[in-house]
Symmetry: C3
């Protein structure tokens, strides 16, 4: 464990929870319910697990306020996930160790590199790169000319940061992610040949953003592609040129967003969602996994489907979809019955009774 | 060719096939039907190509048992693809050449590295990494601290193996794949900000697994993300934290699987399939390409669509989908006809005859 | 700016446009409408922005012919995007600087490397690699044995080129892309185990192709996977073994194409499109984003949906989809009404009037 043991009372105070039982219990780490042992704290997030509390071998447990019949040691909180995130972060936090710039790293000219960094072997920095304090660059990271990287940033193995891109503070970028590749922009000539449009903008990643493995964020054609503070972007996500992602967004794995699309704050896009170009998703928009959005969405809208429709409608439409073959049969049968009724009422007349079309 | 020529009789015995014609024909390699020349063996997998057997320039041919009118040299087998896979493997197998650890590779402290390995220049190994025998690591591979890699493993260029991850024997991982990136786990506070949940588990890849280029497999939040023996995972697949993939699964390119989902053995997921979190797919489940699965599936189920429904239903529903505009028209016309009939029977009454709603 | 200033008349001639106003205006660069300043040229692509021409601070503007009321300085053209692409390319073009092979790059045996190249530190070339003139290889690039790379090629950081692959002239490949990973090919034995089929073909990329970040193009089982002249492939695209992409194709991000599928020229596949294996898409086929194609498509076809249907039908079917719950209700109501009418005409008879089924 990276930090010393903590008294349960301290942990309860940290997460503004209600202490139940002995405040002096010493906790040295966090584990999940089934593997936690003495000396650790664990948690249950819902009441279903509540029935299994007796099985718990941890020295303490974090439970939602709804769990009332507990004798402790425990911490009752509003949001167990949030409490455990804070407590776990406390235990796993490692002090930054400044190893400097390894001799086997490549450093260009006129770079600004503080003493307090950890640059691994086989990292490559271009010219005029500016690094913040406590930056950690793992092997295989390539940072191009004129990129700027903030404080406390971690770039994992084989991450690429393109020229002139700006990375904020406390940003985490996982292995293989590419920030600042050229946008996909061409103009097509009279012969059907595609002429590349120079992509001269950059990418700006603001503070506290996390970007997943092998994700791709293209630089802008002009200006910037922009991921705002606190947005979390999962593996293999694709953001086109000039996209702007609002604060505290969640983009689940394999989302693709076409060029020049922007979002408000706190949007949530499920896995494999596709969003067309040049549209805007308002604050708090939620898009169900695998949906395709082609139009602007008002703040707070929840949608699903390809093309995306209101989520509640989609639930009913998708249920009906499975019954389409039956509907086709019923429609055919109704046509037959109506024709028979018509014949019974007006014998000999045209089947297509009264049809003026 | 990596191995010497083989007698046709030897090859027939290898694949338990029925030899047709001269057993002494010497074969030096495998090629496909259209490019095979003298000295090579080729194959036809179905009867359609059977009609073209006369065009074949190879010295021998592998055919399914259903091909009866063949004078050879040939090998008749149950499954030509399987036979050719075994025979081709024989010809392309290269003896392992232990080049040791190149001086331009980076090796951390306290690693366990047998003499019989091939570590290329520009590979980076962390501390306490354990390698098996006959491991091949290509340039740009980064293996983090405490990772364990089995015998006969090949990691292609720019693969990343995260700390504490375990890779079994005979595993092949293609370029750019990332094993052990952090899972996408956050707890959201009252201000809508996402607090990172530490991802302290690992990834375990069992024997005989193959993982495609730029695929991503996240480490577990707690415990392990687990890919079991013989599973084959294609390019750009995403597996979330705590996913468990059963033995001999086939996951085609760009599949995405959300956290904590598990599968039985021999499942087949088509390209771009999405699977939601915290569900289970039973043994032998098959999911058609581009489908989305949100619920548990019983063993042997075959599904398609978003959301996924039984494949047979989906085939009919998707056919009906193209006729939806026509159904809308027919429904409108039926309403009109029924209203007219109603008026004919009960003149002057409300159109909406007898509707109690 | 990479090139000296140009007279507006020169630029107009370059793009065969109609000069409006002072031909002697000097232009030093290109910027977008909102950020352009004196000394730069900008453009409007459509008439909507035409109304804002007075706000433009650029020294000249490129407009479509449809904009007639303009006093200049301006260039009127048929296709402003195309004109600006050509003019912008002129300004950003940098002369190639041959830095040779950095001492920290790794070069195998018997490579053919002209003097006029720029090979960065931490590049790895295998044996017998052949490079063209003015090739630029960025850090982390790995080129395997026997690969051939044409003139004026740029491979960005961490690109992998597999053994025996051929890259044409003026090809650009963005960071993390993998060319020549093994195709996903197995034969399954009687126990459900997957036996790897050797993938002994290669990948051929023709002239003027651009390939996006973290895209994957598998080598052929036999023969070649082939991307023809001028095709543009976006980030995270997956091409299976033996795929053939025709000239001047556009494959938007995250497209996936299964093995042995081929396309004609000038096809356009929208983002996240999936294409099944062993089919052919004719010239100029267009597939809407997120669609799934399972069948051959005739030249010029425009399709959408999963499975893909004619785009016009899909527009109406997808509109009807949102009304499915309503259709279910209407159908139920019609059944009730028809039963009532039937009872009114033939009291006491079976509801299911005349149904012979």
């Amino acid at each position: 464990m990276a930090c010393e043991k903590k008294r349960l009372a301290e942990l309860a105070a940290l997460v503004q929870g209600e202490l139940v039982g002995d405040p002096e219990v010493l906790i040295g780490g966090v584990a999940d319910f089934d593997s936690a042992v003495a000396g650790e704290i664990t948690f249950v997030a819902d009441l279903k697990r509540g029935a299994r509390l007796a099985e718990c071998k941890a020295s303490a447990i974090i439970v939602p306020f709804a769990v009332t019949e507990i004798s402790g040691p425990a911490i009752r909180v509003k949001n167990p996930y949030l409490a455990v995130a804070h407590i776990h972060a406390l235990f796993v936090a490692e002090p930054f160790v400044a190893t400097g710039v390894d001799a086997r790293a490549v450093v260009g000219q006129d770079c600004h590199i503080p003493a307090e960094v950890a640059i691994s072997p086989l990292v490559s920095l271009g010219n005029r790169v500016r690094l913040g304090r406590r930056v950690t660059l793992h092997s295989g990271v390539v940072v191009y000319d004129d990129a700027v990287i903030g404080d406390d940033v971690v770039l994992y193995a084989n991450v690429t940061i393109g020229h002139h891109c700006h990375i904020g503070n406390r940003v985490i970028i996982h292995s293989g992610a590419v920030i600042g590749s050229d946008g996909f922009g061409y103009a097509t000539d009279g012969n059907g040949r595609h002429v590349k449009r120079p992509q001269v903008g950059m990418v700006q990643i603001d503070d506290d953003v996390e970007i997943g493995a092998n994700a791709c964020i293209d630089r802008a054609t002009f200006g910037k592609t922009w991921v705002k503070r606190g947005a979390k972007i999962d593996n293999l996500v694709q953001l086109g040129h000039n996209v702007m992602i609002g604060e505290d967004a969640l983009l689940v794995a394999q989302v693709g967003m076409a060029g020049s699309t922007t979002t408000g704050n706190n949007v949530v896009l499920g896995g494999q969602v596709g969003v067309g170009g040049h549209i805007h998703l308002g604050d708090r928009v939620m898009v169900a996994a695998m949906s395709g959005v082609h139009n602007n969405l008002e703040p707070g809208t929840i949608v699903a489907g390809i093309p995306a429709i209101p989520h509640k409608t989609w639930l009913r439409s998708s249920a009906a979809y499975a019954k389409l073959p039956e509907m086709v049969r019923e429609l055919r049968e109704l046509r037959r019955q109506v024709a028979e009724l018509s014949e019974a009422i007006n014998p000999g007349e045209d089947d297509n009774l009264g049809n003026n079309e």
